[in-house]
Structure formats: structure tokens, C-alpha cells
């Protein structure tokens, strides 16, 4: 784990974020500040709102109250006379270029090869010349250890390989922030390590990351902060050494005993 200076620029600033699905309130006022280079791991029982929260950070989910800024840009909304109205699709798309996301189910494009998956958005969204995008794309594939798989289609790759391509695809947009939504929970156990290794490497290189995951070994090794979510709120926010040894909240203690007991 590396330390992050308290004066590093703020990448994520979420204030009093509230989100409702019908009558069910899933986020009940989330405040979170993440600085450049921080690796934040969010844990919590299913239904606690952790996945919903990171999906709000790139406006895959609308929010009812509060505000979210990433890299200084208000996400999903624009301000008019003090109230927030939803922004245009074009502006939202531009904001999303700054935010990479890795999904639980990989969501690679099945009709494109690994390399085509990676260069799709740089070429068609960022308008980077194709040759340049191919060069960067191949370098990224090499970085995730899949240089020889550039012409493989997603269905020809294992789950772990697909997830590594998905990480490379997100990185190709040069995001300021990477979101990981349970990136290893759809993987066979023997493939989890290869994906976590790529993520650890990324963390060491200084990428700002918010990771929803129950991989406690990973969290211990690279997280700067551990967040525990329960019932739509962040109930614990601590560095890993304190989070694992002396959690304040009783729910965190029971959660840890269950998760660590299971993985031991």
C-alpha cells in the first residue's frame, strides 16, 4: 500500500447522494472524497448499495438528490439557477470518457476481436488515428499479458482473459478514474489471481481506483481506504490496517468474520 498525500487533487467528490428504485431507497446520502492515486475498496452485503453507488459515478444510474463531481466535472447533470437538470447525452458521454469501468460480466463486444474491442472507443469516440490506436492497443494487451491474443474473439478467451481485455479496453481511453464492479466474482477461482495481479499493477502505477470487491487479500495489499456500506450508507471508512484489526462498527466486525472465515 502506498500513501496518498492529503493535498493530492480531488478526483471524486460525492455529496449527499441519494438514489431510489421505485419506493426502495438504495442510497441514503453518500459522501465520499477520493484523491488522485487513492485505491478505495468498497465492501458490504448484497443490497447494501455499493454497486449502485459506483454506477452513479459514471451516470449509468440517475440520482435523485446530491451531486457527484469527477475530475472537477459535475456528472450527469448541469446546474441551472441552483437546481440540477440532467445533462445532454453528448455531454454525459464526454464525462464518461474520463471514467473507466470494469463490469462483473466483462461485457466485451462479442463481434470484435480483443484488439478491436480495445481500439473501438479510442478510434470512434476520441478520434485517435487508427494506426496510433492500434499501437496503444497492442501495448495495453501486452501490459495485461495477452499480446498473443489480439485476434481472438471474446468467446475464444477464458473468463480471466476476457476480464483482462476489458481492463485494457477501459484503460485505452486514458481515464482519470477506474471503477471496478465486482471484477472477479464471475470468475473461476483459478482465474481470479491473474485479474487481481493486473489490478495491483495498476494501483502501483498510481491509478485512482474504486473497487467493489470482497477480495480481502487484494484489499489488504493495495487499498488505501476500506469502505463498508450498509443499507445505503457508508458506515466505516478506514485504512485497511485499522479496518481489519479494529473496525468501529459492529456490522463491520460481523461482516469481516463471515468473509474472512469463509476465505480462510
Amino acid at each position: 500500500m502506498k500513501s496518498v498525500s492529503a493535498i493530492a487533487p480531488i478526483i471524486v467528490a460525492a455529496q449527499k447522494v441519494e438514489k431510489q428504485f421505485g419506493r426502495l431507497q438504495v442510497l441514503k446520502g453518500i459522501d465520499l472524497t477520493v484523491r488522485k492515486g487513492e485505491v478505495v475498496v468498497i465492501v458490504g452485503a448484497s443490497g447494501s448499495g455499493k454497486t449502485t453507488f459506483i454506477r452513479c459515478l459514471n451516470h449509468l444510474e440517475k440520482i435523485e438528490k446530491g451531486r457527484i463531481e469527477v475530475n472537477g466535472h459535475l456528472i450527469g447533470y448541469r446546474e441551472k439557477n441552483g437546481i440540477l437538470i440532467e445533462d445532454s447525452e453528448r455531454n454525459i458521454a464526454r464525462q464518461r470518457c474520463e471514467i473507466g469501468m470494469v463490469f462483473q460480466r466483462f461485457n466485451l463486444f462479442p463481434h470484435l476481436t480483443a484488439l478491436e474491442n480495445i481500439i473501438e472507443a479510442p478510434v470512434h469516440v476520441r478520434k485517435i488515428p487508427r494506426q496510433e490506436a492500434l499501437r496503444v492497443g497492442r501495448a495495453l494487451l501486452a501490459r495485461v499479458g495477452l499480446a498473443e491474443k489480439e485476434n481472438s474473439y471474446p468467446a475464444q478467451l477464458s473468463g480471466g482473459q476476457q476480464q483482462r481485455v476489458a481492463i485494457a479496453r477501459a484503460l485505452a481511453m486514458r481515464p482519470a478514474l477506474m471503477l471496478f464492479d465486482e471484477p472477479t466474482s464471475a470468475l473461476d477461482p483459478e482465474m481470479i489471481g491473474e485479474v487481481l495481479d493486473v489490478m495491483k499493477e495498476l494501483a502501483r502505477e498510481g491509478m485512482t481506483m474504486i473497487v467493489v470487491s470482497h477480495e480481502m487479500g487484494f484489499a489488504r495489499e493495495v487499498a488505501n481506504r476500506m469502505l463498508m456500506m450498509h443499507d445505503g450508507r457508508i458506515i466505516e471508512d478506514a485504512p485497511p490496517e485499522r479496518f481489519f484489526t479494529a473496525p468501529v462498527h459492529e456490522r463491520t466486525q460481523t461482516f469481516l468474520s463471515r468473509v474472512i472465515g469463509k476465505s480462510a
Binding site: N58, L60, E89, R90, A93, R94, R96, C97, I99, G100, M101, F103, R105, N107, L108, F109, P110, H111, L112, T113, L115, E116, E120, A121, H124, V125, R126, L134, E150, N151, S152, Y153, A155, Q156, A166, R169, A170, M173
Partner: protein, 259 residues
């Protein structure tokens, strides 16, 4: 019953120019109407799956009306009905190299509109068959609706759309016969013209049936090839279809050589 074999073979193998012209009309009208119908159907499908009610409702009403009334009624309504009510009269258009008669224009329009309604439902099914994760991944990469529709969703929907599209075209080849009622000299009307001169009804209708059978059989072979390329099950593992098969299945803009 007297069946004149020599007459039958003569018309089957050495068709008169009326016949050849009818065959040409049947084919060209079918291709044009299927093309226009598919294109309009695509827009209707996009309107149907959009979240805007302003787009959704008109598309729904159009599809409901077109699928709920007979094609023959639509053809007569568009050509004869509109003219009789003095709303619109299809005039012959001189395209320079060829004159496009009003009844053919009306016929193509009616077939296209009707086909669009059916294609809309087929394409809609194709679009909704694509996992929502694909849209989310595309959005998270900063893609806007027109871009991810064109580059991500529609290419995947094509695999679901192509087999029924083939069936639609098979139907289209036969539905052109309905245009005989507004005087388009396609294959059926051409046959009727020859029968009224020769009174060889049995032989000639057997000939025309053979013609349609030939057209649909040839198309069936094309369709088989199309389905081999697009219609394979998405969940088949790559080892089952093999790497080369998979490349063929998803060959939209490739890079370099397949390994």
C-alpha cells in the same frame, strides 16, 4: 383432360418477352420493396424501442394498422382509393432511361410499407436480444446512442434478424402477385394475358408455378449461405464451431489476418 405437353415445355423453357418482362418486374419489385421495407422497418424498430412516447406511439399504431389489414386492401387503397378520393394520383415518372408507371410506384410503396411493419417487429426482437451489458459497456466508454447502435448493437442484432429476413423475402417474391390487381404486368398478370390469348389455362398456370418455385428455391440456397454466416447459435463454444467458423460468423471489419 387434355394436357398439351409441347405447349407446356415451350412456355417453360422458351418464355415469350411478356413472361421475361414479368419475371424481371417480379424480381426487381421484390428487391426494391424488401430493401425499402427493411430500411423503414429499422427506423420503426428504433422508434419502438425508444423511451420517447412521441416516437413509440406512432410506430406502434403504424405497425398495428399494417399488420392488421390485408395487403391486397392496402394495395388497392393506395393506388385506386387515394386517386378516387382525389387525394393523390400516382403519375408515370420518366427517369430518362426508363418510365416508371404509376401503378408500379404505388405497388412498391404498398409492399414496402407493409413489409416495414413486419421487419420492424423482427428487428426489434433482434435489438432486444442483445444483452443490456453491451449498451452499458459502450456508454461507459463514452459512446453516444447513434454510435453504439451502429457499431455495437445492430451488428449483434443482425445475427438474430437475418434468418427471418430471408423468410420475409421469400414471402415478398410471392406477394408481388397481388400487384396484378392494379395492372402491374408482373409474372401472374403476364400469365393471365397469355392465357386470354391461348386459353391454355392449366398449362400456363403450371408454368408460372414452376417459375415461382424456381425463384424461391434459388433464394433458399442464398438464404442457407446467409444463415451459415450469421445465424449460428451465440452460445456455441468456439471449440465447437472452430476458430475459422467464428471469424466467419462475426466478420465485420477485421484487422490483419486471422490466426
Amino acid at each position: 383432360m387434355i394436357f398439351d405437353w409441347s405447349f407446356f415445355w415451350h412456355y417453360l423453357l422458351r418464355p415469350s418477352s411478356v413472361y421475361l418482362n414479368g419475371l424481371w418486374l417480379t424480381l426487381s419489385i421484390s428487391v426494391i420493396a424488401q430493401g425499402l421495407g427493411t430500411l423503414l422497418g429499422l427506423f420503426l424498430a428504433l422508434a419502438r424501442v425508444s423511451r420517447s412516447r412521441l416516437l413509440q406511439v406512432p410506430a406502434r399504431v403504424f405497425i398495428w394498422g399494417m399488420r392488421g389489414t390485408p395487403l391486397l386492401v392496402q394495395i388497392i387503397f393506395i393506388y385506386t382509393g387515394l386517386a378516387a378520393a382525389n387525394i393523390f394520383r400516382f403519375e408515370d415518372i420518366n427517369l430518362g432511361f426508363v418510365t416508371l408507371p404509376g401503378n408500379i410506384q404505388a405497388g412498391i410503396l404498398a409492399l414496402s410499407l407493409n413489409e416495414a411493419a413486419y421487419m420492424a417487429e423482427i428487428i426489434r426482437a433482434g435489438i432486444t436480444s442483445v444483452d443490456v451489458g453491451q449498451t452499458e459497456a459502450a456508454k461507459s466508454l463514452g459512446m453516444t446512442y447513434p454510435l453504439y447502435m451502429r457499431r455495437i448493437i445492430l451488428p449483434q442484432a443482425a445475427r438474430v434478424v437475418i434468418p427471418p429476413l430471408g423468410n420475409e423475402f421469400n414471402g415478398m417474391l410471392k406477394n408481388t402477385t397481388l400487384l396484378s390487381v392494379i395492372g402491374v404486368p408482373e409474372l401472374l398478370l403476364a400469365t393471365q394475358m397469355v392465357t386470354s390469348a391461348t386459353f391454355r389455362v392449366f398449362e400456363l398456370y403450371l408454368v408460372v408455378a414452376c417459375y415461382y418455385l424456381t425463384l424461391t428455391t434459388l433464394w433458399g440456397l442464398v438464404q442457407q449461405r446467409l444463415e451459415q454466416r450469421f445465424g449460428e447459435p451465440a452460445n456455441a463454444s468456439p471449440t465447437e464451431i472452430g476458430s475459422a467458423g467464428f471469424r466467419r460468423l462475426f466478420r465485420f471489419g477485421q484487422l490483419g489476418d486471422p490466426r
